[in-house]
Symmetry: D2
Subunit: 371 residues, 4 copies
């Protein structure tokens, strides 16, 4: 499935919230995407009508793609949008709820990175390697939405790394409980985000709403697909979240309690051999391995390992027995790649390949990529 499906035609896509921090990551990732082509960059009314190059203060380390630079920013209004069935949302939570609903009501398949709709019963909250089957909920949404539009969501940036590490353990040994303490990068707060005066030579041991998201979203993602909703996984989770002076990459110190006994080698093997649907399908943004197991005394570290597998892998290290639960380990993942724009892009690839995008046929003859 390298190269371009759909007879070589790229699907036209729109991006909501294009000028923000995550929006910029989307623009960078979509610049040369083999399947998708940006046809509309939408932002607040303040930016609408201006060139993208002028309305976004570009803060990526790769240059602003010329094709995006010269696009004129549109307002986030489905009536103003060119014909494109797939829409990415990097909107701020303050406005995402209504706008995303409007686009879904207008027949678009919205892949959202915002938190607003994540916990609605009929909205899939999906990490493609973990719970691709939850996408079936799209059909539940469509029962009430004659336009054929729908919303699918990407979890919170710290949740993604956690569930990538927990899923193989759930499958192999069952999960009872997890304690998670995060050390989160400043890019997770968006722009302007946290003032430098508050984080240099400092730690802020609080991120509004983050602990709740980790505790609640994890249960939904690891849950079982029911008739009209997800049956939450009964795992007990306790989270403490900290902001640290790191640019990119969330580090999680995790302790897990398993349902069945497991030898250290078996735990490691479960993590290392874990593969999911994106790997089976060879989706363009799929990491070769969703979990990299690091056999080194003092890793993973955000600066050294956040870009593993193009920033799309979670790296797990320091696996050892836990005196309190069963095992403890450290998980690292890139919060604006795997944890935001990259994760949503992978989800969109899955959604498109599965045929959930209105008017776009499923790709059923895959040539799996060799990882």
């Amino acid at each position: 499935m390298t190269g371009r499906p759909w007879n070589g035609r790229r699907l036209p896509v729109a991006l909501l919230g294009a000028t923000g921090s995550v929006g910029q990551r989307f623009v960078a990732l979509l610049a040369d995407h083999p399947w998708f082509e940006i046809v509309a960059l939408c932002a607040s009314d303040r930016s609408a009508g201006r060139l993208y190059a002028e309305s976004a203060r570009w803060l990526q380390t790769s240059p602003l793609p010329a094709s995006a630079a010269s696009m004129r920013v549109l307002p986030a209004d489905p009536a103003r949008l060119p014909d494109c069935p797939l829409v990415f949302s990097a909107l701020d939570a303050a406005v995402a709820g209504e706008i995303e609903s409007a686009f879904a009501g207008d027949g678009r398949l919205v892949v959202s990175n915002s938190r607003n709709h994540r916990l609605e019963p009929a909205v899939p909250l999906v990490v493609p390697e973990v719970n691709a089957d939850h996408l079936e909920l799209i059909e539940v949404q469509r029962r009430d939405n004659p336009s054929g539009g729908a919303i699918v969501t990407n979890p919170n940036c710290s949740t993604i790394g956690l569930v990538l590490a927990l899923k193989p353990l759930q499958d192999a040994f069952g999960l009872r409980a997890a304690n998670v303490v995060t050390l989160q990068a400043v890019s997770g707060a968006g722009l302007p985000g946290i003032p430098s005066f508050e984080i240099l030579d400092n730690v802020v041991p609080h991120i509004a709403g983050e602990e709740e998201k980790l505790e609640v979203e994890t249960g939904k993602i690891l849950g079982r697909l029911g008739e009209r909703a997800i049956e939450r996984c009964p795992i007990v989770i306790s989270a403490q979240c900290n902001r640290v002076p790191v640019i990119d990459g969330h580090t999680l110190c995790v302790s897990v309690g398993l349902e069945r006994e497991a030898a250290p080698a078996a735990v490691r093997d479960a993590l290392e051999s874990f593969r999911g649907e994106p790997q089976a399908l060879g989706l363009p943004s799929a990491p070769a391995r969703p979990v990299h197991f690091l056999d080194a005394p003092s890793g993973p570290q955000p600066r050294l390992h956040r870009d593993n597998d193009r920033g799309m892998a979670a790296t797990v290290g320091r696996l050892r027995p836990c005196p309190l639960l069963d095992y403890k380990f450290v998980v690292l993942s890139h919060n604006t790649l795997r944890g935001a724009a990259g994760g949503a892009l992978l989800l969109a690839e899955l959604v498109a390949a599965r045929g959930f995008v209105p008017g776009v046929e499923a790709l059923d003859r895959f040539t799996p990529r060799v990882g």
Copy 2:
């Protein structure tokens, strides 16, 4: 007990490991100490014979005290030392074991910040507010040491903050278990310590030996004084330790399981009302309150709160129920003040006031300081 006891005479003290990071903190703290007066600064043979101002690369934010600057550094050899019964050790663990034993064998009361002797059965490992009674073990040491010398030790820098927060909970509700994840400052690694290339824009999720120290030392400090040794507290502790780009101040994310049920207000009250022997005695380096309870959404933070009560208090905040154990909270303490030089100095004050220093009478007529 403000002013000077012992008829106004200050006790002559020596300092081993005077040029290192913790050694410099000792020099700064002892400069105007009402009870103690430095009469000897000892360091490695490489430094011996040189002026202190020339052999220590001074990295404190207060100026190098003139009295110390002009002292000539001595080798760490008891035979070369002037008459002083009390000796502070800030020696590197690579050499501390033997040297401290030599000084104790020579009749000195050694107050050590090094880890080497901490776990020996007859060596008190003391946080003055928590287990002042453990000093009785000094008598056990003296049964085998006719010189009258002895060793008392200060715990590891991250352990001190933890036990200051745990002790009031142990007293009020009993302790079953604790999960601790640390975010530790770079000054804890001494000098040269961790290279800047490894910690800027980064977290290192490993500190050699630190997790073991936290798990083991805590059990000893919270234990019960037995006949010839400490009966360890049976609390189960699981620790994960991280180095973060912070200059001073260790932040601990703690979850605790209690033996008896406790309402949030009772837990808070136990922490806020906690006082120990240093407060009762009014020791010169005692904080007014060993635990500061912070009623704010996003603290404690190292840069803002490490200097609370002259860096001698632990600040506790974000107290809330834990889905897994009973309560979770954040503890912050200054690792080179309360967690090293300041803590050892407070311990020495306690040791001196209690009459454990050879040839120095106990101070039994205290005028407790008003905090």
Copy 3:
């Protein structure tokens, strides 16, 4: 002049812009001030009416003074202000111009840290050790302001360190030219200031308007008092300004061209022996020495030396010949203490002592403080 002049009564003062970064520094510094007493904290209409403790997110390392915490914030309107002839302004430049004029028009002596009025011909721009005589311009203002009010200003935070180092050289050898490259702390940008995502692991080689301020303000401060205005010093200045990931303390790399030949020892001596009117008068906030000369190979450094003389001294080091001009050296000063709130406070002390505050008699019988 220790203790309190004016028969022990403290002068009532108001503070405009009390909730911002510099405003908070003022509140901390004025908490125990021997001469001044805050009677009004003013801020934006959004804050007015609320308790100061609730409207300011306190980010100082010292605790919020209880007296300020419980004050109710007032709007920045002279008609609403209690009787106080002296007003500090830490207002944002977006609003400072008009508000300060309104207070001056209402008979108040405004000591401003904002840039708006600095370059007006009749407004003194004063560093107390450097150009105390420029305060005579207050009389020029009063010719047009029958209320008796006036505005005096404190220079830009990076200018202050520069002129403290240049003034003794001007006096001793004359000044032809200076090249200045700054490395400025993030606190200089106020709150929220520069986002952490833009400064971690980074340098931003641009600060809007800063280079112009350095070039222009320096010429005015070092200039000569004329009849109705300042005759600018003809020194040629070229400045380049950078923001660096430092909390507090601006570092300046300076090269100077002198009018007369000067031996290195003479240059050093000029810097070390420099004293000004604040030292002569023993003003409460005056540093013992306005310039600390550092005889060390690798200083001054912001973290180690910004708090010299309670943050009120400029520290100069690395004096050496310059192949291009005559000498080069490094100057460090604390940008929110000496460079903002502390500098303005010292200026207010000078203004009050000199009798420029309406209704407050000059202090002509000084008992100079021993430095």
Copy 4:
């Protein structure tokens, strides 16, 4: 000249100082190099005999190449080395002098990143775009070295960025003088380098020997090739060097005095249109453009622009008139890529292409790469 010259055979090369910071960069860059193949990794006697994976603590963000990981480290002794005429040196200056001479005396062409031989009259100090003609000095060396070996050197990491920006100005307008203030990344100090305790929340305004290197090396590189040595360029340079808390990327604030008048557009054009021999030859490591001119208000910035053109370009921005000299601007270059391993690699490519490597024919039929 894409693909492999010399009939597709890669030249065997050795690397001295392979385990250090710059050594690791060499290993990463040489992993897939089209012309060169590492056949020997040499390091101190302590490492010799061990696997490279075990003796180097790998701190690059790209994974350790498998081919290097499994090589056994050799001592830095020419007699122990396999047959390879080209040798890279990333040795510490403490030992580089003698070892490099020994390899040159043994018939090897040594491309060195160390400072030891840079200023010797017969040793070329070369930035390939700037002074490729200086390589003729190799013949001068060979008059005294019958083995046919020779040493060529790469300048100091901060000098490279400076001369890349100065050379086009020298060519177009002549150079009188330059003032340079650097803000240098911590990776420039190697490993362990500067302790984190000394650079977090800090600036160190001194780097031993760095200012002299900038002043002296620049004159040699911009000089004219004479009979047996370089005639130094008479430009007057004054440098001040600072270490800042940045991982990679040296920022230079430069003011220049030109010999001939130049309009701003002409200066910009000279910088933008600058190309050198590496671009003409299409050398594998050559940047498309050695100088990137940035037309943005607040750049270049190390985190955003250090990787421009794979870290091999200098980025110049903020060009504006200088009140003191003629123009001022900011230059940024990656100190361990362009400024060390990458620059030395480009130099080796030039040396090989020109036929200076013993036994390797010059590449005279180039197919210039399209930039």
